[in-house]
Amino acid sequence: MSRAVTALDGATSTDGIATITEVALQGMITLRGDLASAGIKKAAKTVASVDVPGAGQANCSDDRGICWMSPDELLVLCPYDEVDASLDKIRSTIGSDHALAVDVSDARAVFRVSGAGARDVLAKLVPVDLKPQAFAGGMFRRTRMAQVPVAFWLHEEDVFQIVCFRSHARYVFDLLKVAAQPGSAVDFF
C-alpha cells in the first residue's frame, strides 16, 4: 500500500567508509513453537521457500528467508504485501499444534551496510567477532548495537542486513553514520 512508509523513508548515507541504506518494507513474521516439529518446519518453509536453519544461522535470499531467533522462535521473511496471506498459510499448516505466528513487519526497521568498510563499521558497534572466517554467509546474530538490540546477517560479501526496532531506526541510522565517518577505516579485517 502506498501509504505505508518505512521509519526513515529510505534514508541513505554514502559519504563514509561504507554505504548505509534503509531497506524497503520487509514482511516479517515471528513464529514461535517447537522447532523440531514437522508442522513448524513445514509452515516456515511454505512461506519462505527455504529450509529452517540451525541455531545461530539464517537462510535468506532477497526478501524471503528464515532466521533462527531462539530455541523456540523463528523469524520468517516474506514480501511485505504477502504477510497476511503468509500468516494464513502458516496457521493452516500448523493447525491445532501449540504455536504463535504474528506479523511484526511494521515493528522493525531494516538497514543495509555495504562496501569495503562494512565490517569495520559494524565492529565499532557490535561485540561480535566479524573476521571473515568467524562471521560468514549464512550466520545470524542477535546482539547489541551500542545501546540497543539488533539482529544481523550477511546479505552477500561486504553487505550486512541489520534489523532493529522501528522506534530505534533513527538512532541506529545515526550510529552507523557516525561509525562510518570519513577517515575512520580501521583496516583490521
Binding site: 521509519a7 504463535l100 515493528a107
Partner: protein
Amino acid sequence: MSTRLATGGRLIDKGKAVTFTFNGSKMRGFAGDTLASALLANDQMLVGRSFKYHRPRGIVASGVEEPNALVNLGTEGTFEPNQRATTTELFDGLTAASQNHWPSLEFDVGAVNAKLSRFMPAGFYYKMFIHPRPLWKHVYEPFIRQAAGLGKAPKGRDDDTYEHFYAFCDVLVIGGGIAGLTAAKAAAASGANVVVLEQTAHWGGRSLVDGGTVDAKPVDKVVEQMVSELSDMPNVTMRTRTMGAGVYDHGYVLGYERLSDHAPHSTSGPRHRLWRIRAGHVITATGALERPLSFAGNDIPGVMLASAVRDYVSNYGVSVGDRTVVVTNNDDAYRTAIALKTAGLTVPVVLDARVTPIDSPLMSEAKAAGIKVLMGHGISKVLGGKRVTGVAVCSQAGEGAVLEEIACDAVAMSGGWSPVVHLWSHCGGKLLWDTDFAMFRPDVDKAPIGADGRAFVSPAGAANGHFGLSDIIGDAHAVGAQAATALGHDAPTSAAPEADSVDEAPMAAVWLMPQGAGKTLRAKAWLDYQNDVKVSDVQLAAQEGFESVEHAKRYTTLGMATDQGKLSNINGLAILSDALNQPIPQTGTTTFRPPYTPISMGAIAGEARAEVFQPIRRTPLHDWHDANGADWEPVGAWRRPYAYVRDGETVHDAVMRETKNVRENLGLLDASTLGKIIVKGSDAGRFLDMLYTNMMSTLKPGKCRYGLMCSENGFLIDDGVVARIDEDTWLCHTTTGGAESIHQHMEEWLQTEWWNWQVYVANVTEQYAQIAVVGPNARKALEALGGMDVSKEALGFMEWADGSLGGFDVRAYRISFSGELSYEIAVRASEGQAFWDALMAVGASLGVMPYGTETLHILRAEKGFIMIGDETDGTVIPQDLGLHWALSKKKTDYLGKRAHTRSHMADPERWALVGLETVDGSVLPDGAYAVADGENANGQRNVQGRVTSSYHSPNLGKGIAMGLVLHGPDRMGEIVEFPGTDGTVYKAKIVNPVFFDPEGEKQNV
C-alpha cells in the same frame, strides 16, 4: 643548559622544522620530537610546579612514567589538561602551557609552601583542618580546593570524535619492543591470529637506544626486518600509538589508540579509538621502568633518569646538559655515561654506590673512554634551585658528609629497573621479590586464570624480569610459542634468534643515598614528584602506625597522582619496609589497577555523544509532532508530546486549551507507546488469571477488560486494558514504561515456574500506531472516514472490532481513559502517519486538536483514574487505591494474593486514595505531605497523607488532586493541611476522587 646537538637523533627529521608555543613563547622543534625533547632542545628545563609545595620541576623521564612534565594542551575545543610532554608527539602549531603555578611558572607565590614544608608533613591536612568542625566547609575546603589540582578542567565542548572497536584474536601481544616482536613472531609462525599493540609511534622499544646484535646483525636492522615480516603476515595486526590499557577477566583487554594526537589538523576521523579486545592469550611484553635514587634535591630540574638522558641524546639529538654527573647502583647507567661521552659531552664523574671487586665490561669501557668513576660514592645533595648547578659528593656508607662539590648542569640517576608488571597484575597475576635485581617480577606460577582454569596472561622479556638482549629474546620466543600452542596451534619450528650478551656486575639495592642520611637530607629526598612525597613522609607514616602499604599510600598520597607511582612505588615501599624493619615482600605492593596510563574520557564514551548519546525511541508520528509544536516529555526511552504549543502560547496555555477541547470537541492522542503483548495458547487464560488480580479467562472474544498486575509481593506494578482476540489469544495493553518489563515478567514466569504451560507471548508494541480519538465528536470523525460500523450498538463500551476506516485496516477499541466517548484505533505502524493525517483532515470541521500527555493526565484525574507511577510508587497496593473490586475473590491464586494477607498489607492504618480540593481553588503542590499533630521520634512533624497527582482543571475551573490519606475515605469533607516548600500552608478538603461526570454518562453514548 639543555640544547640540540649537531648530530644524532634517530627519531627526528631535521629537514622538517616545526613551531609550537609553550606558555605563549614561540619555540622550534623537528618532526619526530616529543614535546619534552623539543622543550629541552629550547633549554626549557623548568616545566611545572609540584602539587603541594610548588617546587620547580623539570622533565625527569622520556616516556609514560614522567611525573612532572604535565601540560595543558590545546585551546578551547581541543583543550586537555595533564598531558605528558614525554608522550606528546610534536606537531606544527601545538600550544602547551604549564600547570599549577600562579602568577607564572618562573615566579610562583605558592612556592612559599616549600618554605613551610617542615610544617606540612604527611597527613598535614588531616591533622590541621579537622578542628573546629564548622570551618571545614566554609574556610578550609574552599582554600584547599583553590590550592589543589594540577591541570584545569576543560570548559569548551570537545571538537573531536571517538569510537570503540571490537576485536578478537588468538594471541594479543602488548608491547612492540624487541620482546613483543619476538613473541609475536613466534606465535604468528604457528598460524595463530596475532595482534601487537605498541604505545609509542615506533617499534623496537629500548633496544634501539641500548643496541646490541642479534644473529650477528645490529638490533635496529633486526627490528626493521621483524616489523616488515610481521606486517606482511595475513594473520598479524600491528598497531602503533596503541597502549594496552587494562587486562580484565576472560581475556578482555582494552587498547587505547591515539589516531590523530600527533597530527590533529591533517587527518579526518576520530581522535581516539578504544579497542575492546577478546584474546585467547595475552602476552605482556611491557618492558621495564628505571627507578630514581632517593637523595636530597633529586627533584631539582636537571636531575633525570639515566635512561632518559640517553634517550634524549640518542633519539632526539638533545643534550640535557654540558656536564652530566651520573649516579648509579647498577651497570646500566654506564651506558648513559658512554653515550654522553660519545656525543662529545662531559661526564665529570660516575658516582657508583657499589663497591665491586673487579670492573665489569661496562665499567672498563667507561674508564677507557676517560670517565672518572668513584665507587662507593653517592650524592649528599644536589646544588641549585630552578636548575642543577652541581652535586655534593659523599660516601654512600656515611651520613652525607660532603667530600667535594662538583659543578654540573645535569644529573643522570639510576636506581635499577622494575619490570612493568601492571598489566600482568590487573587481573590477579602475583609477584615475586627478586633479591638480585631488587625488584618485583611476575610469579609465572600464579598467573591470571581464565574460565578454563589455565593462565591467560604471560609476561615476556624485561616485563618478565629478564635483562640483556639474549635473555629477553630467548624468553620472548618461548613465551610466544607457548601461547600459540596452548591455544591448539602447532609449535613453531624455528629456534629463538641468538643475541649477544654483556656481563654486568650485580646491582646493589640503594633505597636512600647516603644510607645514613640525616633528617634534613631525608626531608629533601623525593619519592613521589607529582604528589610531593618525601622519604621523611613515608617514615612518618610508619611511625604513626600506618603499617599497611595501602594505608601508608593513602596517608602520604604516595603513588596516588596521575602517574600512579610508576617511579615512586618501589622506592616508597622499600623505605616503608625499612621503617617497619621488615623485608620488602612482607610489605608488598599496592594494587595495580587499569588503565596503565590515563585514557581520555572521550575514548571511554566512544560514539555515545551528540545525537547518538542515548537512544531515543520515536513513534511513527514523531516527526509530525515535532513539526507541530510538541513540547517533549521523556517517558521511558520514548519522547512523547507533553503539549502542542502554538505561537503566542505558554505550555500551560496549550495544556488548558487541549484539555477543554477534548471535553467539548475532539482530541487525538498518539498512544502508540503503550505496550501491546500477545499471549496465546491453551493455557493463556489460566496464565493471565495468575498475572492479573482480576479474572481474564472469562472475558469473551470481542470484549475488553481493565486489569491490574501485582508483583509477588503484592505491590501494583502495571495496569491496562486486556482484549480477548479469539479462543486462545489475548492482547494485553501495558503502560508505556511497562512494555518491556511486563513482557520480561511474563517470560520469566513462563520459563522458570510454568514452563510446561502451553503459552507463547510476543511483544508487538511497535507493530502498531495507536491513536486515541476522544471527545463528543469522536464517533462523527470515524464515521466521516467511513468503513466499519462504530455505533453504540455495533461497538459498545469495552468492546473491540477489526475492520476498515478510511481504507485502512484497523483494530478499533472502544475504551476510555478520559471519561469521554473514546476509541483507540490501531493501524500498522507504517501507515500511522497516513492514518493520523486522515483523522486530522476529517476532524478539521469537528474541532480536532492533537493533545499531549499532560492533557491525558488532567482528563484522567478529573475522572479519578489512577496512573501507575503517580498514584503508585512501588509501595502501593490495589487496596490503597480503592480497587478492591479488581481483586478476584473467585480465583484460588494470583501473583500478589498471598502477599495481600500479610498483616502490614491488611492494616487498616494504610493511607488510602481520596480526592483533594483546595479551599481556595488553587493547585496543591505535587508530592506535598499532609501534617498531623505532634512529632515523631526524630523530632519531625507527624504526617497523615501525601499528594500523588495535582493539576488545574480547566473544565472544572479549579485545582484538583488525588492523594493517599490516613483513613481518607472515612473523612470526606474534612480539611487537612499541606505545608508547601514555598512557606504557604495549603488547606484542602477531602472529597471523592471522581470530580467529573461521576455517573459516566459522557463515555456511554
